[in-house]
Symmetry: C2
DNA sequence: AAGGCAAAGTTGGGGCTCCAAACAGGCGTG
DNA sequence: CACGCCTGTTTGGAGCCCCAACTTTGCCTT
């Protein structure tokens, strides 16, 4: 029964966790906390069914998800093994403050204490923002300015735009909410982000930007235009500005299974 | 039977195509060539089993893959529908020449005729490259310089490094091989790329670079350091240089199922 | 005529099974 | 002692089934 075009409603997150995600979460925890070291064998399908009391389908699905996340590698006839490169691990989750890494020796994500100042306001959408959020003519949006600091020194500016009225219905924003990224914030509002699109360019900083970032003259910035999608509609878009001389963006892409 | 640590061998691609990939390819083709417009319903599991003569598992798997690629959206109780944003479609496949998009109105990937000049040589790995490829001391690498042109004008420089001896055993490189990217080339050599990691920074172009790209003074470049991984070992790394004033990088990230 | 309700269709989780290819270990033979 | 074969395990593809939750349709009742 499917005559009408797709329902114009937003995706709501399901609250009950599937069984296979329980297995995924447990194995992922073991990899993260070091119980399963790189190169160590992961229990096979048969072993997982016995260990967790799940069916073979759930066990197989869990292994597939972990492989898609890049945490383990499957070898036909041998087994699944924990992959190397634990440093890149958090990037799969696209946490905002793992997004940029200072030049030089890579510090762990915990080495730098990241803080965030923010300021929200309601504004009329510019034509550019209205297009990015697929809003009609003169719509109102919630605009939030962020200043991220690492050990007190500014490292990133961001301006986030959402359709007005999105954030009001939800719960209050926790103190560390921004460090976990917009996807977590939107999930708390019941909106399930299905895709993130980023466009990276480089340009000369505007005076206010070079002032806020304490940039010397002549330094360029990386400008990221990021949009969060829920289904086929944009729910949040933001402009992120990063000093181009001190930071780099890291993207990882797991190639299918 | 699994006593020994992971076999130190590279992943070999299977030559026979699974059935579900046939279904995926056919639906993807229909989406790309416009037979299935955005918002149009995709055949359901039951319809796919009848239409393609496959089992329900294959039909379900095909829909899952297409949804993971971001081409379709599934709605419980309703069906799967073709998503909007057809412009970003080819980016999911990370084809090299779709990687950068000129500013202004987005042209389709076919609007610009992309050509490529290349020059290969054998060289001793610098410490930086040896580290990136996880090679010991003074190893030899195959270095290839690429100049990509769009409608004859230079748009991108790239220098690729591979461990020496990787490319020789394989078949000759076809004329359009580079436009499909290193992953396709490595696949032809029997190496299955499982992950791509990119690091983006911005910097001042070197004289040779601004010369080759015909850059005016003062223009910065985007510098992408890209590494292809097969399992847990790097098999190719390259430095990609793009004019920062005319092009932007686009990354899409499908958030789990 | 309008509203409500039941039935049919669809997705997504889960279970079970079979099979080919690949791999590792043990055993036997030269 | 070395080499090759055989057997058990494991992965990944594929098939078929059941069920809960949800959407849409069309019919039936008021």
């Amino acid at each position: 029964m499917r005559r009408r075009p797709p329902t114009p409603g937003m995706d709501i997150v399901a609250t009950s966790d599937p069984v296979y995600l329980r297995v995924v979460a447990d194995i992922r925890r073991q990899i993260v906390d070091g119980s399963l070291l790189p190169g160590a064998p992961v229990p096979s399908r048969a072993q997982l069914t016995r260990k967790y009391g799940v069916g073979e389908t759930a066990a197989r699905h869990a292994l597939r998800v972990l492989a898609a996340e890049g945490l383990i590698v499957g070898r036909v006839g041998s087994g699944h093994y924990v992959r190397a490169q634990p440093v890149l691990l958090p990037l799969h989750r696209w946490r905002l403050h793992d997004h940029h890494v200072p030049f030089g020796a890579d510090p762990g994500p915990e080495d730098v204490r990241v803080t965030c100042d923010r300021r929200s306001e309601t504004a009329t959408a510019t034509p550019d923002i209205a297009l990015r959020l697929r809003l009609g003519g003169c719509a109102t949006v919630a605009r939030t300015h962020y200043v991220f600091r690492g050990d007190g020194r500014p490292i990133q500016l961001a301006t986030s735009y959402e359709p007005a009225g999105l954030g009001e219905s939800g719960p209050g924003v926790g103190p560390d909410e921004h460090l976990r990224g917009p996807a977590a914030r939107l999930a708390a509002l019941g909106i399930k982000v299905t895709e993130i699109v980023e466009q990276v360019r480089t340009r000369v900083p505007q005076p206010a930007e070079s002032d806020a970032l304490a940039l010397p003259a002549g330094v360029h910035v990386l400008h990221v235009e990021r949009t969060h999608w829920a289904g086929d509609r944009p729910v949040e878009t933001s402009d992120i500005v990063i000093p181009g001389d001190r930071f780099r963006l890291i993207y990882t892409h797991a190639v299918q299974q």
